[in-house]
Structures are given as C-alpha cells and as structure tokens.
C-alpha cells in the first residue's frame, strides 16, 4: 500500500520531535508517579492515632490532679517530658527538648478542681508550615488534649459517685449512608471524601493536562509541513487527500497509543503508590488498623475490566484531541500557531466540564447547561471515568460511544478542510495585527 510510505515518513518525523517525546511520552511517566509519590509521602506525614507523641508537660501546680492529668495524657498516646515549676520561655524550652507541643498546668490547678471550680490548662503548639498535614496535626493534638481533660473529668465525677461517660453520651448514634445504591458507614463516607481528592479529582485533572499536551501532536504534524514548506509537494502527490489525512491521523494515533501506554503506566504507578495513603485515610477516620482494606467501590477499582475501560477512555480522548489538533494544524500557519490554536480550542472544552463536574452532578445542572455540556466530548470522558469509579461499566461504554461519535464528526470537518485549496489559503492567526 502506497500510503504506508507516507505513514513511515510521518512516524519518523513525529517521533524525532523533542516536544512530542517529552510532552506525550515522558511527561506522564514522570508527573503521575511524582504526584502519587508526593501524596503518599504527604500521607505518611499525617500523625497516626496510635502514634506516641512527645510533649512538654510544664507543671506549675504539683498537686494531686496534675498526676491524674498526666496519666490521662499517657493513656491518649502522649509521652510527656515533665518540667516542674518553670517560668522560662516556652518556645525555648520546646526547642531545647525537641518537641513540637507543650502543655502548661498553671498554679492552683488541683486546688481549683478540688473546690469544684473550673481550672486552666494551656496548650502551645509549634506550627512548621501552613499545610494540610500540619492543620491535621494541630487538630489532632487539640483533640487528644481535650480528650485527656475529659478523662480527668471522669475521674473527678467518679470521686463524687457519678458515671460521667454515661451522661456524656446517654444514647449511641448509629446508622448508615446510602451512596449510589451502596450502604456505608459515616466513617467510610469520611474516607470517601478524603479519597475524592486523590482519585475523583486528581485523576481527571492530571489526564486533562496530559491529553491537552497530546492534542498538539497532530497540529505539529501539519504545522511541520507548513513550516518546512513541504506541504505543497505533499499535496500534489498522486494520491487522494484523504489518504494523506489518514496517514497523518494514523501516525498521530500511534504516537497517541504510545502516549496512552505511557500515561497508563504512570497512572498505575500513581494508583499503586496511593495504597499507603488510601489505607491511612481509611484508618484515620474509621479507627481501623492501617492494614485493613477499604470497602470496595470507594476507591478506583484496580480490576481488569476497569483498567481496560480506562485505557480505552484514555485512547479515545487522545484521539479526539488529535482530531482537534488536525483542525488547528489546518487552520494555523506554522507549528507554534497550530499548537497555540490547538490549546485554545481544547482547554475550554476540557476545563469547563472539569470545573462544573467537581461542584455538582450533571443531573443537578439546569437542562440547558447540562445539554450544552453533553455536546462536549470531554464531558463524556470525565463521566466515563466517574462511571468506572462507580463500576457502572455499561454507562462507561455509552460514554465511550458518544466520544467516538464526536471524534468522527471532528474528523469529517478536518477531511473537508483538507480538500481543495483551503489547507493552503486558510489562515487563522493568533498574533495581534500591527496597525496599518
């Protein structure tokens, strides 16, 4: 087949382009594992509920209830470093003892409690950064010290013959959440929201960026012909224009396939590296051990059908951006113009559904807006990923079908533009025209 000579040429020209190798093939393999690793590392920095924490306990009271409170702190996982009667700089003392938190028991603490009056405990925390993990650590320290105070209250109440734990919670709250036909506990729901950021939000976000990069491949393919001034010789070859277009599309698809494989490998590494983070999220909210697996359906299912469908979604999404790239390449005058135009055409199409679907379900949007969104192929890409997440595979296949139909329509427009002289005479410039 004569077209094979063209395909060979296209592949060689594309594969030798540094921007394509870096943007489409290497970036997913670097960025996705990097994000996964970073999240996993961030997960590691969150303090575990069972972890022993060293704190400074500055005792300016020395009374009976200080010892009780100290015991309560021990029970809640603190390892207090005791300093008796110090009025020095607390920050300096914390630095000196290498701790990030200090509890100060003020003078008259035990006497106040013995008199039935509210006493005072001071908590000082050294905050190292304004990060989520740091916020979580502060919140955890506050919770544990409050819990130690509550334990002290129970001791005081029992001395007076009262079961305080009973009065604190005379009835137990039980029940479940229903999420898309599944039953889950409130604790599991909390885990789900934590996992939302790592799967339901982050996977589409990273894919949006990667797919946008791949769209420039086809634009580059045509832009290169224009820029290198090889297009005219190509167009007078004794073969049909559609054959030239198909050769370009086929070669770009091969690049897209390699890109998909690269992205898929990166995504697998990413999902695997989240294992520790995921189990951590589950354990911290449910109180289960870190090794206990999450309930199925709450995390991205690493099963064969799910992964196969994810691969198909990625490939079709890439093929759509390639088609858009071909359009951009036809309309622009050179490689840079084609890439800019491809970005300009793709980014609103990608970002609009991405942003909207983060805030709400498509069914909750006004009918006009949801219809408009459904006319965007990338809405179907995001919904397909969501349905894989929910293991609703039939819906995934329908969304893939819709994406394929859009791709065919875009290609038909590109083929129409490829005919006649439009490819040579049509120009859309993004540069500002200089005044006459």
């Amino acid at each position: 087949m004569r077209v094979s000579a063209l395909i060979k040429k296209e592949l060689r020209e594309l594969l030798m382009e540094r921007t394509i190798i870096i943007g489409v093939i290497l970036m997913p393999l670097i960025i996705l594992p990097m994000i996964g690793g970073a999240l996993s590392a961030a997960g590691e920095t969150f303090a575990r509920p069972t972890e022993e924490i060293r704190i400074l306990l500055i005792d300016n009271d020395g009374g009976k209830y200080t010892a009780v409170f100290r015991n309560s702190l021990n029970r809640l996982g603190f390892t207090p470093v005791l300093i008796s009667g110090s009025s020095g700089d607390i920050q300096e003392l914390m630095k000196e003892h290498g701790v990030l938190a200090a509890v100060v028991i003020v003078r008259g603490f035990s006497q106040s409690l013995a008199d039935g009056q509210r006493a005072s405990v001071q908590l000082f925390i050294s905050m190292s950064s304004a990060s989520t993990s740091e916020m979580q650590r502060i919140s955890m320290l506050e919770d544990r010290v409050s819990a130690a105070i509550a334990l002290l209250g129970e001791v005081l109440a029992s001395e007076r013959g009262l079961q305080l734990s009973f009065y604190n919670q005379p009835a137990k709250l039980e029940g479940n959440l229903f999420y898309r036909g599944r039953v889950m506990s409130f604790a599991e729901a909390e885990s789900l929201i934590q996992l939302y950021f790592t799967t339901n939000l982050l996977i589409p976000l990273v894919l949006v960026i990667m797919i946008a990069t791949s769209g420039t491949v086809a634009a580059t393919s045509i832009g290169l012909e224009k820029e290198a001034k090889t297009l005219e010789m190509l167009l007078i070859l004794p073969i049909r224009r559609t054959s030239i277009l198909l050769a370009k599309l086929f070669s770009s698809s091969v690049i897209a396939l390699i890109g998909t494989a690269s992205m898929f490998a990166g995504l697998l590494i990413y999902l695997s590296s989240l294992g520790g983070f995921v189990s951590m999220a589950g354990a911290s909210s449910t109180g289960a051990s870190a090794s206990e697996p999450m309930s199925s359906g709450l995390v991205f299912p690493l099963t064969s059908p799910a992964l196969a469908l994810l691969a198909v979604v990625l490939f079709v999404a890439m093929a759509i951006t390639l088609s858009v790239g071909i359009l951009a390449g036809v309309l622009a005058g050179d490689v840079r113009g084609g890439q800019q135009l491809a970005g300009l055409m793709q980014m609103p199409l990608l970002l609009l559904p991405f942003m909207l679907l983060q805030f709400t379900d498509i069914g909750n949007l006004p009918p006009t807006l949801s219809t408009a969104l459904m006319l965007n192929p990338f809405t179907h890409m995001l919904l397909a990923i969501r349905t894989i997440y929910e293991e609703a595979y039939l819906a995934t296949i329908l969304h893939i079908g819709a994406m394929t139909a859009f791709m065919a329509a875009i290609l038909a427009i590109a083929a129409w533009l490829f005919k006649g002289e439009r490819l040579l005479t049509m120009r859309i410039s993004l540069k500002r025209r200089s005044p006459p």
Binding site: A228, T230, E232, M233, I236, L237, P238, I239
Partner: protein, 236 residues
C-alpha cells in the same frame, strides 16, 4: 494536445486579481520559461496548473485534463518543485527518494540517486544538507518519476554556480528525453540557455511571448535582460 494550456485564466486573492485572463499554450516536449517581476503571477499560475489552487474564472488544462474537474489525473502526470520547497529533516535523502518512488508507484530510486549526484550524502539526514544539496534531492525526486510535465518554480534560486550549473544540465538532459518543462526564473541567462519558449508576464497578463532568439531580433536587444527592462519600463 498541449502539455499545458490556459484559457482566459483569472485568479483573485480577495478583491485583488493575481491573474487577468491569462492565455498560454505549452507544446509537449518543450521547455517553457515564464519570466516576470515579483508578484507578476508566475507562482499562482504554477499552483493552478499543479492543482493546488482553483481558477477564479477561465480554465487550465494539463495534457487535456482540466485541473479542477480531474485533479487526480493531472497529478499523475506532473511533478511540481515550489520555489521555497523544504525537506523532511529527519529522513535521509535515500529514504526520501524511496518514499517518492513508492508514492508514484515506480522503481526509480537508483535513477533518483544518480540524478541527485549526492553519492554517500544520500544516506545522511536531509536536515544536515546545504541549500544546494536540498534543491538537488528535490529536483531528483521530481524528475526520477519521469513526469510528462515538470513544473519548476525558480529551480536554481539561491544556489551557487556549481549547483546551478548542475541543475540546468539535468533539466536539459530530461528535456532531450521528452519531458515537458514549465520553468520560472529571474535569471535571464538561465532562461536563454534552458528555454525553447519564453513568456513575459506582468500584473497577471502575458505581455510578450516567443522563442528567445526571435524576441531578441524583434526588439533589437542583446539579451533577455535588456528586453525585460525595456518591456517592464513600457508597462509602468
């Protein structure tokens, strides 16, 4: 039947006419030269005959085939070397010739290699070729497939003497074997040497046409350069 023929050919870019009722007839087997100042309409004429552009009015035919109605048939008979044609920088010269031979469905790589005269450099990537080498490989790709009509827009533009002489020699060799050439050039010496017929085009119209020797006699000038300057002066 003419190798190339236009009848009242008009082409507009927006409101601006690039060709105004142009009529040319290129005999089969001749080297037909088109000369004229920049923007005269030479490249537009070539692009229409090469099926890249459509006429706004009138008709253009190659060996009796209409360029609008039968562009596929026309493309089988022609090759076109644009003035500023580029190369595929990641392909070697040999791979490029193989690709072109395959696309035209001919076994002509050896012939192409011979025409290019690039010898061992054929195995190198074309991205490293000099301008002269690029022009030679492109010309070789145009001629090795034995087209009935070769349209060459400024085939020696920007080349040094050695490369330019080589290109002219090859064109003459192919012309003697029966290939029809439609050539444009700003080099009047080249036109005198190469062409059987010359057409002077200005503002999209033919202002003079004939054999070089006959034109010199008619206007009593020493060379085509003088003729060109004289006729252009009359047009202003």
């Amino acid at each position: 039947m003419y190798a190339a023929e236009t009848d009242n050919l008009w082409r507009f870019y927006g409101e601006k006419p690039a060709l105004r009722g142009l009529n040319i007839k290129v005999e089969e087997g001749e080297v037909f030269g088109v000369i004229g100042p920049n923007g005269a309409g030479k490249t537009t004429l070539f692009r229409i005959l090469a099926t890249l552009l459509r006429p706004s009015r009138g008709s253009a035919k190659v060996f009796g085939r209409d360029v609008v109605k039968e562009p596929g048939e026309v493309r089988k008979m022609i090759t076109y070397l644009p003035e500023d044609a580029g190369i595929y920088k990641h392909l070697s010269g040999l791979d490029f010739l193989k690709m072109m031979a395959s696309l035209y469905g001919v076994d002509a790589v050896e012939r192409g290699a011979l025409v290019s005269g690039l010898d061992d450099a054929l195995r190198e990537k074309m991205g490293g070729y000099s301008k002269g080498m690029r022009r030679r490989i492109l010309l070789a790709s145009c001629l090795m497939v034995n087209p009935r009509l070769a349209i060459l827009d400024e085939p020696t533009a920007g080349l040094d003497v050695e490369h330019a002489v080589y290109v002219r020699k090859i064109i003459r060799e192919y012309a003697s074997e029966g290939t029809t050439f439609l050539v444009s050039s700003h080099n009047m010496l080249e036109v005198s040497y190469l062409c059987d017929t010359v057409a002077l085009i200005h503002r999209g119209e033919i202002v003079e046409q004939g054999e070089p020797a006959e034109l010199l006699t008619r206007y009593g000038v020493q060379n085509l350069e003088e003729l060109f300057v004289q006729r252009m002066g009359e047009q202003r």
